[in-house]
């Protein structure tokens, strides 16, 4: 990788590794960002992209390897050091001070001073205007930040970075929440910055955007460096193969099933201020995906269905039984199971053993008279551990020693052992390795084939498109679209998720 060209990379990582406990988030990863070039970082969820960004931003320090600035090794002791060095990160959802003006947000802590040390608003607004001019956008520096769209907030962040003379701009999935026009505008801004000599690192799940904007792409898989190459001459399929390590068919083994009777019926479900008027049905044998942007209210709907949270209006019916509000116990009795979003907080009791965790949702079934039968508990755990190909030492080991993917299998085992008719899975493969991911997909497919109704919440678009019979798209707390498998594409789902009519 050394022979990239005559010039020095502005910012580079050289053979960087980083581990969190037993999880090796980055293994011997290198990356070179050149001035005037937009560089894409590709990889699936959990491939290590965020860890890499945080290493560049000074949030994490590498366990081994170096960060190089203009060819010289540097150590960022914190985000402030990285900012000082001219590295700016634009996150997906910026955090501005809503009650301050746009200009005040840009110059927070570095306001130009006038006489008597007072803030010179006139200069500040003029400077902000100049920055927006450079970016080629027309934002009013004097308006409050409250009410700005996410796209505009990102522009404010970019202006802030420019005002600090940032030379490296890192954009972590900036387009995830943007509409088509907003994406086009952002790209113009990035192209302008590139021409002005900035080095840009761009992260996106949308391959089209990588091909449109970037000159080079570095691919990570499971924390390891896979390739760094020019975008020109690469096809979508090439890039997917590098990201996934296999062809997509194997990753999404969807079986054709015939939808049976309605197993879950949600009617006009509303929780004030969170989601409203949500209605849909899931039939036996179906996998229905609930897609949408983070914060659209998907997990909240799942929580309300299962009874974790109370709902204010509407009804949930499982197999003909109308569920009382806010009772997970009643939901379970009716045949509902929920594999929650946060495995480590909600899915598992980390201190308990594998067998106790698997038994936890079915303590009633393990009884022999008033007592728990340890033999029944062990049999249940062993049975499901084998069926899900769990990799474990002993069933009495704590679940904390398992890998993320195997922990997720324990959560699945816990719920499948209750014999549900409706399975809700919330981000079932987030943060787990590709191999286990494919196994989870195969399992979901098999379950549907056995007549279980599956409702799958996922932020992973390929997963949604690969696994779902129907896609429900949520936008700002409402169902914005229902798209059958045949019509579901990245474009149709994203346009509904970002609020443009489908």
């Amino acid at each position: 990788m050394g022979e990239t060209g005559p010039e020095q990379p502005t910012l580079a990582l050289s053979h960087v590794s980083k581990a969190f406990g037993a999880v090796r988030a980055l293994r011997d990863v290198s990356l070179e960002l050149f001035a005037g070039e937009a560089h894409a970082l590709a990889g699936e969820n959990g491939a290590g992209k965020s860890t890499l960004v945080k290493t560049l931003a000074g949030v994490h320090r590498p366990d081994s390897g170096q960060v190089l600035l203009d060819g010289e090794p540097v150590v960022f002791h914190g985000p402030a050091d990285a900012q000082q060095a001219g590295v700016a990160v634009i996150y997906q959802e910026p955090t501005l001070f809503p009650d301050l003006s746009v200009a005040e947000n840009i110059f927070m802590g570095r306001q130009p001073r006038g006489g008597l040390g007072r803030i010179d608003r006139r200069t500040m607004n003029a400077e902000a205007d100049k920055l927006f001019e450079r970016l080629g956008v027309g934002l009013d520096p004097q308006r409050p930040a409250r009410g700005l769209s996410i796209a505009d907030q990102q522009l404010v962040e970019i202006a802030k970075a420019l005002s600090r003379n940032a030379r490296v701009l890192i954009m972590d999935e900036p387009t995830a929440a943007l509409s088509g026009n907003e994406v086009a505008r952002l790209f113009n801004v990035v192209k302008a910055l590139r021409e002005q000599g900035c080095a840009v690192l761009f992260i996106s799940h949308r391959l089209d955007e990588i091909f449109e904007l970037c000159q080079r792409v570095t691919t990570l898989r499971d924390g390891a460096w896979i390739a760094a190459e020019p975008v020109e001459g690469l096809t979508h399929e090439d890039l997917i193969r590098r990201m996934v390590g296999r062809d997509l068919d194997a990753l999404y083994p969807k079986q054709e099933t015939v939808a049976g009777e309605v197993a879950l019926k949600v009617d006009r479900l509303t929780r004030e201020g969170v989601f409203a008027d949500v209605s849909f049905e899931v039939r036996r044998g179906e996998i229905v995906a609930l897609a949408g942007l983070v914060g659209a209210g998907r997990s909240e709907v799942a929580r309300a269905i299962f009874g974790i949270d109370r709902f204010d209006a509407g009804s949930v019916t499982v197999g003909g039984t109308r569920l009382p509000a806010a009772s997970p116990t009643a939901a379970m009795a009716a045949g509902l199971a929920l594999v929650p979003e946060d495995r480590r907080q909600q899915g598992l009791v980390m201190e308990l053993s594998i067998e106790r965790n698997i038994g936890l949702a079915g303590l009633r079934d393990l009884r022999k008279g008033p007592l728990i039968s340890r033999a029944a508990e062990r049999d249940r755990a062993r049975d499901w551990a084998v069926r899900l190909q769990l990799k474990f030492g002993r069933l009495t080991d704590g679940v904390g020693v398992l890998s993320g993917g195997n922990q997720q299998k324990v959560v699945l085992a816990k719920w499948l052992a209750t014999g549900p008719s409706v399975l809700i899975v919330d981000e079932p493969t987030r943060g787990i390795d590709v191999g286990t991911k494919a196994e989870v997909h195969r399992l979901l497919s098999e379950l549907a084939a056995q007549g279980i109704a599956v409702l799958m919440i996922s932020s992973d678009l390929p997963e949604v498109l690969g696994m779902a019979d129907r896609v429900l798209v949520m936008h700002e707390g409402r169902i914005a679209a229902e798209i059958p498998r045949a019509d579901a594409t990245e474009e149709s789902v994203m346009s509904a998720a970002t609020g443009r009519a489908a």
């Binding site: 965020s50 495995r343 009633r364 728990i372 704590g398 987030r430």
Partner: protein, 348 residues
């Protein structure tokens, strides 16, 4: 669309559980011997032998019977407290409920009620005291430490309202003897026999029923327990009611045993109870512990108190010893965990 959460998650809680297996296979052999409750039992034997050597009357049946009887209320309350602490809650108002119960017994007896009416009534009052604690904790989501410090003052205050500074004595002999006499043919006082029965029941409930399993899950990770369909609030409410009920019953025994009803009966014994539970190896953060350990802890506290008393050590010093034991029992497992982790580091 963001993978921030997925990749940040391991950073927050990446360390495996404390009882994660080491690289070796010898965990069962050595690890078993190093279990906390086994250590406490060993310590108990040491105290017993030490006591027998230093104080000739210590090991006599009479003294041991007295020591056990003297321990009765603490032991009974410790059973309910164990379940609470395993579920990561605590009830500091138990001694005050005991005092209120004692004051009510005295005042009602003084007013001419029969003991047969007084006892069930007082126990119901104890259950209500526990219910109030439980409702404040589960419905309003207040921390039990704060709630029960409040009700500790409240219930003790009520005890003084009921009885003032008076001391009521002269309870009928047949009831008083129930609280002190031995079960015929044994050196075991009735309250101790009752404790043995209840301890067996508690051990079964805690370690072999779904209810017990739920307590450990709640204590380790309440949210995950709730997501698994466990009725967390209801279970906690039951525990607090149980704790109040047992404390009130202990108040009746205490009153009859000393033949004296006073509002300040049992002041401070909540500390002895909690010390016994923690020395018994129950983690104050919940989720860990065995009833066997707690029973060893209760006996250890009881024998120590008795030994100190036989050697004419003042109650102030006894209190110092209880306090030190409490701190040591909280500190030692943490130190052990740190040492274990240090030792594990060089291993791959």
């Amino acid at each position: 669309m963001s993978e921030t959460t997925s990749e940040a998650a391991p950073a927050q809680k990446a360390s495996p559980g404390p009882d994660a297996p080491g690289p070796g296979t010898s965990r069962r052999g050595v690890g078993h011997l190093l279990r906390w409750d086994v250590l406490v039992t060993a310590l108990l034997l040491v105290v017993f032998l030490g006591g027998s050597l230093t104080s000739p009357s210590f090991a006599s049946a009479g003294n041991l019977s007295f020591a056990l009887g003297d321990l009765g209320e603490i032991a009974l309350i410790a059973l309910a407290m164990t379940m609470l602490v395993v579920a990561a809650e605590v009830d500091l108002s138990v001694a005050s409920v005991l005092g209120l119960s004692s004051a009510l017994v005295g005042s009602l007896w003084d007013a001419g009620w029969s003991i047969e009416t007084i006892i069930p009534l007082v126990i119901v009052v104890g259950a209500v005291c526990g219910l109030v604690n439980g409702l404040l904790v589960t419905r309003l989501g207040l921390p039990s430490l704060a709630v029960t410090i409040g009700t500790m003052a409240l219930y003790r205050g009520l005890a003084y309202v009921v009885l003032g500074d008076r001391a009521i004595a002269e309870f009928p002999q047949q009831y008083a003897s129930l609280a002190v006499d031995d079960v015929p043919g044994t050196p075991i006082p009735y309250p101790v026999a009752l404790f043995v029965v209840l301890a067996v029941v508690t051990a079964i409930v805690l370690h072999s029923t779904g209810f017990g399993r739920s307590l450990f899950a709640i204590g380790s990770q309440e949210e995950a327990a709730f997501f698994a369909g466990i009725r967390v609030k209801r279970i906690k409410l039951v525990l607090f009611v149980l704790s109040g009920t047992i404390a009130a019953f202990a108040g009746v025994i205490f009153t009859l045993r000393y033949g004296s009803a006073r509002a300040d009966n049992g002041v401070g014994i909540e500390l002895a109870v909690i010390a016994a539970v923690l020395i018994g190896g129950v983690d104050f953060d919940g989720g860990k512990g065995t009833l066997g350990g707690v029973i060893a802890g209760v006996l250890l506290i009881g024998l120590l108190r008795n030994l100190l008393m036989l050697n004419d050590v003042t109650t102030e010093i006894q209190s110092v010893v209880t306090g030190l034991l409490l701190i040591v029992s909280v500190l030692t497992p943490r130190l052990a965990a740190v040492i274990r982790q240090r030792r594990r580091l060089p291993a791959p």
